[in-house]
Symmetry: C2
Amino acid sequence: MNLEQVARRAKVSTATVSRVLNNASVVKSSTRARVVKAINELKYYPNLHARSLAGGKSRTIGVIASNMENPFFFDIYKTIESDAHASGYEVVVANTDYRTEQLVTSVRLMIGRRVAGLAAIVSEMAPELIDELNESRIPVVFYDVGTPRPNITNIRVDYRRGIDKVIEYLHSLGHRRLGFVGHHAVLGPINERMKAVMDAMARIPELEVRTAADADTLEGGRQATRSLLANGYQPTAIICVNDITAVGALRELRERGIRVPQDVSVTGFDNVKLSEFCYPALTTVHIPRDRIGHIICNSLLSWTGKPSIADPELVIDPEFVLRDSTGPARQ
Amino acid sequence: MNLEQVARRAKVSTATVSRVLNNASVVKSSTRARVVKAINELKYYPNLHARSLAGGKSRTIGVIASNMENPFFFDIYKTIESDAHASGYEVVVANTDYRTEQLVTSVRLMIGRRVAGLAAIVSEMAPELIDELNESRIPVVFYDVGTPRPNITNIRVDYRRGIDKVIEYLHSLGHRRLGFVGHHAVLGPINERMKAVMDAMARIPELEVRTAADADTLEGGRQATRSLLANGYQPTAIICVNDITAVGALRELRERGIRVPQDVSVTGFDNVKLSEFCYPALTTVHIPRDRIGHIICNSLLSWTGKPSIADPELVIDPEFVLRDSTGPARQ
DNA sequence: TTGAAAGCGGTACCAG
DNA sequence: CTGGTACCGCTTTCAA
């Protein structure tokens, strides 16, 4: 089933069918009607590969994320998708599971697909990519990591500020013995969040902090919390790298009979929907995922081919959100 | 950057470069080495569109789901993706948000992409699709809805059995006044779950059931619960269409000071990870999402072109999971 | 083992 | 307004 068959049935040339498909206004309406009829009768659907090959473009934007299972990434993706659809673009996604190797594979796949734009919402990074991406001439937005380049825009959240707000608040409540629950991604923001904690510790001598890390999942948060408490350490507050791991932490604490926030305070990060629905509702830091999504999509689609007018690097300041999982330090 | 440039640099023909790319064994190893060198030096990545156009196939399988935000769908997707990757296939996804119109659009898009196989994990359905799909000759698996056809396999879970197990259990605990929290998808399994509840009510005269529905999200579950209780109705147990909405219900109940399970019991469905992590942990029904994913992928990739050897319709019996959100009926 | 060339299914330019 | 046709980048005979 192809253009030619449709053309034959409608008794026109393939060129005309193509025009109808791309609703060029030049086609006489009676002709158009015949073609449309033929298309429907034949249940014809254009071969997208042929289309993007011939056209040289692809009306598709690629999104690569570290962990779609985490609503943080998913929310950004959703926003991008809906913006893209609104502009007549399709979206194709890829997961890296925080694996650099997978990131490289995915990026190359996207290049191979000749996507019209690429958003990388990832914590990991591979230096060779920025070169390859540059030569590909594909507009790219990196969230969190990456270096600004001619066709690469950067967006990042000031995690340090976010963490500082959390620590400041906990400190004011009398917390001195802290725990940090991270996850296994060593690069990027996690590192930044972790470093922020370490720096705070250096800055405030009376602070003691121990850390543990596991997967970026509910279960991972639980495991990390378990190992954090394994050797008898008794923090009065646990700072989690994000909301998902925090919910995992809540569960571990609950099963140990440790009350939150009476016995220990817990904080999340990201402010995903779940953070209001878990029990107790999480004190966290809000990251405007919809705004990030809009900026990304906008930056990708408004690409002119020339250096963008907008800042090549955009930094977002996160907001502290107080809920029920934190309270005064015990003892 | 294309085959020809690589060919020129390696001083061979494009045919040979193509052979190297598809690692045909016929190429002399010294020649192959030259080509590989050229490819790397030029940072060449084959145009996937040209490839699948010329080859007539696409090494890509399509997955369409109703709501990727719900871990139920996401878990299935993850399994399919990992199986597909293991077999050298890529996966491209699409969301329908339970909208039939979007399903139609997505299916046509997949046909246009000439995917090697299509998995539709959806609750909605459009009759015209099965014809179009049939003519496309693409192997298809429908989960939940759809009619078996030459190239269409069907998988479904016996939701009725699952719901019956829940009701039976609640009934044995003395619950007579029930609530059902659904979501807005009118077709398919939801309907089946809802119908199962209704049928049970007819079967057991002493049962009273009222229902409410909203979106398939945490917030939706909360809203539905709110309207369920709005007019003073006081069920002793609330059956939720799935775990996500159940967690939403838990929150609404908590804010009203209604204790679970002392004052009212709550049940979920699906047994997603969150159901163990929320508080109280949900009594639910387990749906083996990994098994479903494996079956789907397997059925798609093992396609021979002829009617499959396996059953064209497969029904899965779900398992009851008892946790902490249910207890004896009060009063 | 390698090269030449005919498509794959569209798009878009140039005539008419 | 419509048709003819030269590509788009790659795969795949067919010969050499």
